[in-house]
Symmetry: C2
Subunit: 475 residues, 2 copies
């Protein structure tokens, strides 16, 4: 008995043992069927996998096609395989009790009745048809050589389309050649921190409070000290930054995350002066500036000092996170290093996605999407504020009319953790500000993400939260 693999086709990949001693009782088609059956049982061929065409497998095994057809038919009859309309054959059976991998089981907790968690972009509004139109255009129009390896910056079409957009909408001073396409703010700041660390930076300043899942762990992993700069109603306290001996600072000047303030004009100028004096870098996380509801958004601070500020934008909040598209405007003296870090990290972002986004921007679809979403988010925000005013007037909402979340401060006698826990028991998921603080001192506050919630769900959630607050007071 020998083991045979076929050549030049998928069939080579099926381990099929054939005993060609014709004196043996077992016909060839049964031997083929037994091998395939065993592969399915062992989980080597799994549910939905395609088998090679009978002709191909037969040629590979050196048997007549009828042998393979008969084997397939037998296994279809036995329920191992399914014969599909296109003429191909698939594995039908779920793997049995053999040594193959166990079927994936995913335990799901019952979801909360209302989830105010931040970071849930309203993915239901993703303009699929428009995006797909751009994909089609890209496939029809893109020369072959564009699908090859890239440099680390991304494709020029997207650089140009983004520069047009950012200069128009965000008041940046964007030169396409200083742009690096990345897969979102998380990767962008990761690359920047790598470059800063390699250039001898020792200390990164961040806003306090600020997100706990990107710049802070990345800087720590790169061996940088992380120092929190307290945030007031108008953004960070620049006096504290000036004393912090930092080499770079991560800021959300248009809409501080989470507290919702805008960095004042005076503070902006002072941050830039600080950066120029020290040769420090400002990393501007412009995560949701497109969503301002009361007036035009304040321009990006990158426009004030393109040599000292890295502007970081992302499609995760404005379109959907699953695209994994972000962009950076990098000061000219750093752009080669950042592009090199991107190249080393992942050899560049996917070409098709970049070209698609460029086409999508160029057609004005991104503008159209933002125009469509602004009133939707604004109504949700208004519903949230109205419900808080009705049910929980003792909370103090803060921040500008913008974005996809609101922070509301708790009165001093309400413990943040107790309210969050009581809310969970009432079916309301939300987070407090405390987990995002570097310095644990500071007032209690709740973060309300509203991007995915209907106005009705928002009202229901806040009413339930009010009952949770009553629970806490009664305890």
């Amino acid at each position: 008995m020998h083991r045979l693999r076929t050549n030049s086709s998928t069939a080579e990949d099926l381990l099929i043992e054939l005993d060609r001693d014709r004196s043996r009782a077992e016909p060839l088609h049964r031997q083929v069927a037994a091998s395939i059956r065993e592969s399915v049982r062992a989980g080597r061929l799994r549910h939905g996998a395609s088998l090679p065409p009978s002709r191909t497998l037969a040629a590979g095994l050196g048997v007549s096609r009828g042998v393979v057809v008969e084997a397939y038919q037998q296994l279809v009859a036995e329920g191992y395989l399914t014969s599909r309309a296109g003429g191909y054959t698939q594995v039908a059976l779920e793997p049995g009790t053999g040594p193959g991998p166990a079927p994936r089981t995913r335990a799901r907790e019952a979801p909360p009745a209302v989830d105010f968690g931040y970071g849930h972009t309203d993915v239901s509004t993703f303009p699929r048809a428009a995006w797909l139109r751009s994909v089609r255009t890209v496939f029809a129009a893109t020369p072959n050589e564009r699908f090859a390896y890239l440099d680390g910056r991304g494709v020029p079409e997207l650089h140009q389309a983004l520069a047009d957009y950012l200069n128009r909408v965000r008041g940046t001073s964007a030169d396409p050649k200083d742009m690096v396409v990345c897969s979102g703010f998380g990767q962008g700041v990761s690359l920047l921190i790598q470059v800063l660390a390699a250039r001898g930076a020792r200390r990164l300043a961040v806003e306090d409070p600020s997100p706990d899942d990107d710049a802070r762990p990345l800087a720590a992993a790169a061996g940088l000290d992380v120092v929190g700069i307290p945030v007031g109603p108008d953004g960070i306290r620049v006096g504290e930054l000036e004393k912090a001996d930092a080499d770079a600072v991560v800021l959300t000047p248009s809409h501080q995350w989470p507290t919702g303030g805008v960095l004042s004009a005076a503070a902006r100028a002072r941050v830039i002066r600080w950066a120029q004096r020290r040769g420090a870098l400002v990393i501007e996380d412009d995560y949701d500036a497109e969503y301002r509801y009361d007036r035009a958004p304040v321009g990006a601070i990158q426009g004030l000092a393109p040599d000292r500020v890295v502007y970081c934008g992302t499609a995760s909040k404005t379109l959907v996170p699953g695209l994994r598209l972000g962009w950076m405007l990098v000061p000219p003296h750093l752009v080669d290093d950042v592009a090199q870090a991107k190249l080393l990290a992942d050899r560049g972002s996917a070409v098709i996605d970049q070209l698609t986004f460029a086409d999508f921007l160029g057609r004005g679809e991104f503008d159209r999407h933002l125009r469509r979403m602004r009133p939707v988010y604004r109504r949700r925000r208004d519903a949230l504020l109205a419900a808080l005013d009705t049910h929980l007037p003792e909370l103090t909402p803060t921040g500008i009319a913008a974005g996809q979340h609101v922070v509301a401060w708790l009165p001093p006698d309400l413990d943040e953790a107790a309210v969050v826990a009581a809310a969970a028991r009432r079916g309301v998921a939300l987070r407090g500000v405390a987990r995002y603080r570097l310095d644990p001192a500071g007032p209690g506050g709740l973060i309300f993400g509203y991007a995915t919630l209907s106005e009705r769900a928002i009202a229901r959630g806040i009413a339930a939260l009010a009952r949770a607050v009553a629970d806490v007071r009664a305890a």
Copy 2:
């Protein structure tokens, strides 16, 4: 004179200065036109950028729509804007001499007549129609919530489709839950090195010669020592590995890059024993195993020891690099750390691309593509070997009948660098083996990538190379 921005539309992003003092001579439409003209001239609005619909801009500015229509018409007449069929208006003019970014100029050198550089996948064969069909299926079938943020492993559909494929084709022991989707071998090895360094690894062994642009610089950047293990005709010399005091080794067991050997069965078993004894990790770079022309490819060594081997695969060689899709089978004790590193690095690979590839695999399109490409690459390889035999019989091709490149050793009296330089003068681009060696000793050799070259171009290139060799001998 005041500055006005409009609300809730793209128009807000146009800085338009209107003087509403009607006693002034300048009509409103001229003021609007002047503002837009200035934006175009200054490069704030660039070639191809879309303008807001006239109705939107008019509403935002609080002027009649006719004012905006007249302004647009004026600028179309002047050549600044173009009126497009869909009813929208775009910037037509290339930016002038204002302070905007300069037009992108890209100096291109004349390409070599024949380029044997490695890494040029034949992107012209990318099955666009089949891929686009899968994109369409994904857009039609994917629930909204799938476009949200991900965990670091990737989407389960792709885990399952790849496990099916790899277990069938590469003899791996793949459990979908131990799979991490990444953007190619470069990112995969970057994540692995981060995890190893965080766990205290100090030394990474690599094959000598081996690629100089992924594991080696990444390990050095992470503070690991890099040690080269010499490669013979049957892959690395395991005795040297055993003496190297390494915590991990990067191997290309199916087709050593660049020398083209296969790691022998005895050496595989010995590498696995070494890893088990030391608790070391084997990183298997299975970059082109699907392209073997003489027999079925040798199975992945991951199948021998799933607890000690990380299997790394990529679509860059088999489909196109521009997709940025790779995958790893990670030992269960490391998979959480690797997924966490992926999450921190870029929050996961793009969802649409992953789902598309899963659909593409499930339809059997990947198998079909490989079946179609194998004879194409095989013919190119045969043409290369025939041309070498005819024109340069003194060179010694080495390695198995596989992949997208061949190494040929030079006779001792021919200097590798001299031949490479002489070839360039004859219009033939290629690289020597020397740049990939850690230990500079070793025979001279040339690397011939043939993936993108027609058989005719290959023959022409080798004939020109023969003339270059004659130049060297004559010098």
